[in-house]
């Protein structure tokens, strides 16, 4: 069975009104999109709702997609804007989903407290500030280049590189602390 490219599927949707082709596109991109939104929101149910909203927006604006662009970059840009819109609406009550992560502590003075019991890289990434977490997710998990990530996040490429650099240092610090003997001994 020949697998159609993203562009071929888009052409089917736009020129033939074939909604099943859009279903194939959704199925192809839903995992990465939902994974990223779960990283950004730190709330699985909210992330899936935002992913649905993102893909509906994409369907409505599909005729504005430029043929020479990469569909995933375009989708993630919509997802990021959807995420930002949600944050604006729920500014006061936005929940970072910290309850989803075990053994998470946030110091009251605003500085990030080292996570002594963090062994899982995923938990460590979840501790990063939002911009760093998003940059790491887009470039390392989703495989976007720095310029693509900058396009999605609508910031300069230099900012993305800077976020990644700082994120890597923080992750190293977090994971280093987690692997210290006294950290392991405290759990026993």
């Amino acid at each position: 069975m020949i697998e159609l490219t993203d562009q071929q599927l888009i052409d089917l949707v736009l020129k033939a009104g074939n909604q099943r082709a859009f279903g194939v596109l959704v199925n192809r991109h839903q995992s990465g999109l939902r994974a990223s939104l779960r990283q950004w929101c730190r709330n699985d149910a909210l992330a899936d709702d935002l992913a649905q909203e993102t893909l509906l927006k994409a369907f409505r604006k599909l005729d504005s997609f430029q043929a020479n662009a990469k569909l995933s970059t375009w989708l993630y840009r919509i997802a990021y804007n959807t995420f930002l819109d949600y944050k604006k609406i729920k500014k006061n009550s936005f929940h970072d989903g910290l309850d989803d992560i075990d053994n998470v502590h946030v110091a009251s003075d605003g500085h990030m407290e080292q996570l002594h019991q963090a062994r899982d890289l995923k938990q460590a990434v979840a501790q990063l500030p939002e911009a760093q977490r998003q940059s790491i997710d887009l470039c390392y998990t989703q495989g976007f280049s720095h310029s693509e990530a900058a396009d999605i996040l609508q910031c300069p490429v230099g900012s993305v590189k800077s976020h990644i650099q700082r994120a890597k240092q923080k992750l190293k610090d977090l994971l280093s602390v987690a692997s210290l003997p006294q950290a392991k001994g405290a759990e026993e």
């Binding site: 033939a16 009104g17 909604q19 859009f22 990434v125 495989g143 890597k168 190293k172």
Partner: protein, 116 residues
């Protein structure tokens, strides 16, 4: 141990670990989304509407033709139209109009005519 990794090793570790992230099963996500898409317009309704417009236009012309108080010199017009040069331009113009009209109609309704 993390403390013993240099930057390059940590970079490789990070890439390896982050790319191993679990695939999220669809689990009805796509189906739920597809259910929210707008329903496709019925194929026959637009075509029927166009046919009705065409029929009405033809009937209107026929009625107007019948009730016109003025005598239209049909014979003179036909004689003029039968001239060779006039014929060529006339038929070429008619063919071009029909073609342009067909292309416009097909383009406008392409999603219905070429649906797979």
């Amino acid at each position: 141990m993390m403390t013993q990794m240099n930057d390059q090793e940590f970079e490789q570790f990070l890439q390896q670990q982050m790319q191993q992230s679990d695939y999220i099963e669809d689990d009805g996500f796509t189906a739920a989304l597809m259910a929210q898409l707008p329903a496709k317009p019925r194929r026959s309704s637009a075509v029927k509407a166009k046919l009705w417009v065409l029929l009405t236009a033809i009937l209107s012309c026929a009625i107007v033709w019948n009730v016109l108080p003025v005598q239209i010199p049909v014979a003179d017009i036909m004689q003029a139209l039968s001239q060779p040069l006039v014929n060529i331009w006339l038929y070429a113009g008619m063919a071009a109009s029909l073609m342009a009209g067909s292309v416009l109609i097909l383009w406008n309704d392409r999603s219905r005519f070429f649906e797979l």
